[in-house]
Amino acid sequence: MELFGIWVAALLTLCIYSFLYQDNPFYRFAEHLFVGISVGYGIVLSIHQGLVPFALKPLWAALTGESLSGLIKLIPIGVGLLFFARLSPQHVWLIRYPIAILIGFGAGIAIPNVLRANIFEQTRGTIEPFAAMHAGTLSGFGVFEAILMVAGVVCTLTYFFFSVEHRGPVKWLSKVGIAFLMIGFGSAFGNTVMGRVALLIQRVDFLLSDWLNLIS
């Protein structure tokens, strides 16, 4: 079964790489199979990691008399079922209920978490080296890095600050901000390319070693 799995994986890999030549039936077969398999995988995981432990198990415990508190899970199940109102044109407005709950939940959970992780922590990380500078434990190059960090953050934010016209000093600050952004985008691009190349090497390694046994 393991050998069969290797052959299936290898043939599907080749089917997808055949797209590099041009669009063809082998690629289309693999592409459509990938869509079906991925959606099926997502459904199975969401049912077994969401619906079963958080709804069906407590509900079953309530039905068997183990713990009646599980009956409250009927409410989110009912709300979730309202999603299927989408299939009936007359009752399509009912879909707003579960969407409103999920959106409200997402907005509510985002505010404290984004404040904590993305604003307080990032600001702290930006100005923290100045504490070491004040204590005299930072090297000369460390001082340069700390100033560079603050300058980069301020200039980048200035570039995105549209409440004032970008003229005079603001224009120059935003120009420096663009330079920092370009370095950021260049780094992201470089990392993305290398990530994809690593995946390519891994797939070629699989084909040559696991499938063809050309590399031991």
């Binding site: 398999i37 969401g50 709804a55 979730g80 290398m194 995946l199």
Partner: protein, 216 residues
């Protein structure tokens, strides 16, 4: 009923999620965990509805005999196989794991590795060091890519071996990632986070209502 109740639900769930995160009391934490479990119960229904829409789309493709309609059957085969094995037996089942390991994982990695070719060809066509900013992006990407692979340090040590810095390519990459790149990212993160918070407040207060859709 059609618009006011969803707005009230959104407000209530948003406020509850904010308040419970600021209170460590066991009652508050109980509500917090209960609401999280509710959303984990509701979300799979959205996924099932999305799957129903996918099935509708492919059934329509088959009925209308549009281009490559035959491949819609391949989507169904993949989807049904995963669901029939995964839903009753769980994701730990041997057959489900086999499908995941030998079909989904290789195809996922291969699809993403395909991007290596397309990013490279797109970059070759689009990247021109015509301005200072474009040159900055190009040079940064080059340093990050070279610093990611051992050959980068080999070239550095061979060509720039007279410099007092050994393995300079990987060190330069790390310095770029930790300093100018991080400061640009922090600027972006701070800006985006302020946007997320203001948008979340607008949603909770019912000022932003686009998620309700059109109609009455």
């Amino acid at each position: 009923m059609k618009r006011q109740v969803p707005l009230i639900l959104c407000f209530a769930f948003g406020i509850v999620m904010i308040l419970t995160q600021f209170s460590p009391h066991s009652f508050s934490q109980g509500i917090y965990e209960e609401v999280i479990s509710w959303t984990l119960i509701i979300s799979p229904f959205a996924l099932v509805l999305a799957t129903a829409t996918l099935i509708q789309t492919h059934v329509a493709r088959i009925q209308r005999r549009t281009d490559h309609w035959q491949y819609s059957f391949v989507v169904f085969v993949g989807l049904i196989t995963m669901v029939v094995i995964g839903v009753p037996f769980g994701p730990q089942h041997q057959a489900f794991e086999w499908l995941y390991t030998n079909i989904q994982v290789p195809m996922d990695a291969t699809m993403f590795s395909l991007l290596a070719f397309f990013i490279a060809s797109a970059a070759f066509r689009a990247f021109r060091a015509r301005t200072f900013e474009a040159s900055l992006l190009l040079i940064t990407a080059l340093i990050v890519m070279m610093g990611n692979v051992p050959v980068g340090d080999l070239i550095w040590n061979t060509v720039l071996g007279w410099l007092p810095l050994e393995d300079g390519a990987s060190k330069a990459r790390q310095w770029i990632l930790n300093n100018p790149n991080l400061s640009a990212r922090r600027g972006i993160i701070l800006g985006v986070s302020l946007g997320v918070i203001s948008q979340s407040i607008r949603i909770i207060l019912g000022i932003e209502r686009s998620y309700l859709g059109g109609g009455d």
